[in-house]
Symmetry: C2
Subunit: 478 residues, 2 copies
């Protein structure tokens, strides 16, 4: 049967999670592979999700005083070289432009992998006085990083993101902004994308090249692996010193400025797929779903059915929802499967018998629950259900994360947990990079962060047994 086919085409999560993920990306028409190795095409459904995410996140940014700008796509090699750690961090993975038109360039330009250098150069010329501060700028753009191994949406050689870059008069203000933006990410992920995260600080080993401190929101995928879903960096005055960003303060002294940067990318779409998806495909949280309700007419050739379906669409659109009618020639069953594959939160079915009774059937994507609803009450019911779905999805993902977060009080338990379980493991750490590296090498897991909410899950380092200074959240990461 046609309506089974679409579903059968995807691998089940249990059988092969990685293949399931790729299948969903492709079959839900989020992306297509491009013939250019490591680059993806973002298809209309995937891009519409990104547009929703952009609108919601951008509004959150603007509420905190962020202004959008646009910086050049290319960075001269000499500019990149000014900050040593940044060069070391990014040079191995940038694409180099060596000629413009038929002329070779006198200096190589790289396609931006991130734009700290460009913002710093701009601030160097644009910031003179404390009156010019702070500047809280952001740009939405694409960046290129020449990854060796790629994976749809999660790791591609080009991706879309926003990168915020701010400059402040004091170290404290920069630190506050760094944490503020991390909280914006965590709230956006939880409230809009229904993705719970662990908030914390990266260890020195895992922090951003050139940052004084990197904060992160770490999400847990359905296969128990971690995904870094947004980061925020406090640069102190390091970049200001490298790029000579100085301002005259109120006390008439010339001082170095303090900077931050923070980014969230299309990777977060990958997180959403792997947190909420199931064997029928994508499950979209109502707030980011490009379409919230799909109306499927039953026996649509019978008189009045299509009219009623479009009447319902008008009714729901008028109530502020994003709605379509699927009036194609496909069978209702096939349409149901398509709605499910695309993750549309609600499906409304309307047929001749429903019309007679003045009702329709409404079906939730997240849990499959069906209900018969009077058409007069449909808008109210849909509003309540969409709100409920948004809540339930977060609750379900939070419960999953909680169930898959373990604590190890000592070294043995730590190893055993990673041998038997998948998920986050909280354990104590002595603060020594050598231990961190040893754990990574032996167990294949990395320190995701030092959570803001510290607990004393043990006394000693889960690696070396020395006195511990921090609790770290460990995991196998994407």
């Amino acid at each position: 049967m046609a309506d089974k086919k679409l579903v059968e085409e995807i691998t089940s999560m249990e059988e092969d999670f990685a293949q399931w993920y790729t299948d969903v990306c492709i079959k839900a028409e989020m992306i297509a592979y491009s013939q250019i190795k490591g680059f993806m095409v973002i298809k209309p459904w995937g891009y519409a999700v990104w547009e929703r995410m952009q609108a919601l996140l951008d509004a959150r940014f603007k509420a905190t005083g962020v202004e959008n700008v646009y910086m050049p796509m290319l960075i001269p090699e000499s500019l990149l070289n000014k900050e040593e750690e940044l060069v070391e961090g990014f040079a191995p993975e940038v694409a180099w432009v060596t000629s413009g038109g038929s002329e070779p360039l006198t200096e190589r330009y790289c396609v931006r992998p991130t734009s700290e250098t460009l913002f710093s150069e701009f601030y160097q010329t644009d910031v003179h006085s404390y009156r010019d501060l702070p500047k809280v700028y952001n740009q939405w753009c694409s960046v290129v990083r020449w990854e060796k191994e790629t994976r749809p949406v999660l790791r591609s050689r080009e991706f879309l993101w926003q990168e915020g870059h701010t400059v402040h008069a004091t170290a404290e203000e920069a630190r506050e902004r760094t944490q503020q933006m991390l909280n914006v990410y965590a709230d956006f992920l939880a409230e809009d994308m229904a993705i719970p995260t662990v908030r914390g600080r990266k260890t020195d080993k895992e922090k951003f090249a050139g940052a004084e401190a990197t904060y992160t929101v770490e999400a847990l995928m359905h296969d128990g692996r971690a995904l870094q879903s947004g980061t925020s960096h406090d640069f102190g005055d390091k970049f200001a010193k490298a790029y000579d960003i100085r301002f005259t303060d109120r006390d008439n002294q010339l001082k170095y400025a303090f900077q931050t940067s923070w980014g969230l990318s299309t990777r977060a779409i990958g997180a959403m797929i792997m947190v909420h998806g199931d064997d029928r495909g994508l499950v979209l949280p109502p707030r980011v779903a490009p379409l919230q309700i799909c109306v499927v007419p039953i026996q649509q050739k019978k008189e009045g059915v299509l009219d009623k379906a479009f009447e319902i669409k008008e009714l729901l659109t008028g109530a502020g929802f994003r709605v379509k009618v699927d009036d194609t020639e496909k069978s209702p069953g096939y349409k149901f499967a398509e709605c499910e594959m695309h993750g549309i939160p609600l499906r409304v079915e309307i047929g001749p018998r429903d019309i007679e009774k003045g009702v329709c059937v409404i079906v939730r994507r997240d849990n499959g629950e069906k209900a018969e609803v009077e058409i007069d009450k449909l808008a109210d019911t849909a509003a309540a259900l969409l709100e409920q779905i948004q809540k339930d999805m977060l609750a379900k993902a939070s419960a999953f994360m909680e169930e898959h977060t373990y604590s190890a009080s000592g070294a043995e338990e730590f190893r055993q947990l990673f041998a038997e379980k998948t998920g986050f493991v909280k354990a104590m750490w002595c603060g020594d990079r050598a231990c961190e590296e040893k754990i990574k090498e032996e167990l294949g897991v990395t320190s995701r962060c030092m959570p803001f909410e510290q607990e004393k899950v043990g006394e000693t380092c889960a690696c070396c047994g020395k006195p511990a200074v921090k609790m770290v959240c460990w995991g196998r990461a994407y």
Copy 2:
């Protein structure tokens, strides 16, 4: 005086139009020069204008069924080479990426100057049947063209734009879409940006590399020079043949598909500056103005003044307008000058004496008209004024274009007009490319388009005197 300074810093239009234009771009904080030759930084005010333009144009697109997508930023040389004319047209001005990370690439990639090749490659794999057609895709992105001479906003080595790329089952449908999108541009420019344009078809000499027909909207700047403000291309099945885009039609025959593309860029911001600006700076049409009203408190340290100013802001924001209060330490006069420089359509002044009387003063940016308004009636007055400004700006620009559009019935008059006047000159043309080239060489003017609204302004070609086939609109172009 401080409030004079900002204004005095810009050159007057009469004195030096090019310098005036650059001054406005910089002083109105639309852009900044980047230290990377030919690249610009789009500053918050400039980017906010672009965001408004994007929102308005994107809504017009979506109303005609356009879906947004995202294609890779890089194009392999072999892919670019598939369509001969396109390569010839763009190869001299692309930036080439030759290595990724530390590895040289086996094939050069260019940074997209435009994405016909990428969309064609995508359609080649994604279009199989007439059921897959049409596809009406668009992307918002940046492109790179290695221009030799650059000019702020108007011609830079990187610019932002949207590029629509569609594929259809029939030549007729493609032609209709090409014209439909040209009309979308013309309507957007007229209704949202208050920029009147001449719609027409480009001559073969001026059309897009690889297109069967290029349609254009041509605007007239305040210095009498023309600016191509949006183009729409009908490719027929040329690209389909080069990239092998075939589909099975209803009659079961395998057929080549038909394509279009259409683009509008940040150049249109340059048009807006040069059509509406004056010696006090930018003049923004209310629909695209990021802020529509600036409230300037007078004697703001007096009790109650700032409170009232913010109360007015709330009142106007609640009525749906984009409003700010300038509560900085600057003098009112300086604030007035800044509002004017940034082109904010309305300024509201509120001081202690106004508060006593329950009134405020409202000032139009476009014509300087002042009026005293009761605060109770302010929201209604502002709504009416913003609508009136939007209309008046279009009417003024239309009158200017009309006054500066001339008709030449013969060769002598044609030369004389361009010797004496600046603007559009309509003249008859024999259709011979040699005449077009001769006119360009001798007079420095180019054929802007063959207007859809043809008139018989003479009998014979304004160059060679042979029988004419078309009326052409000529001008000196940016």
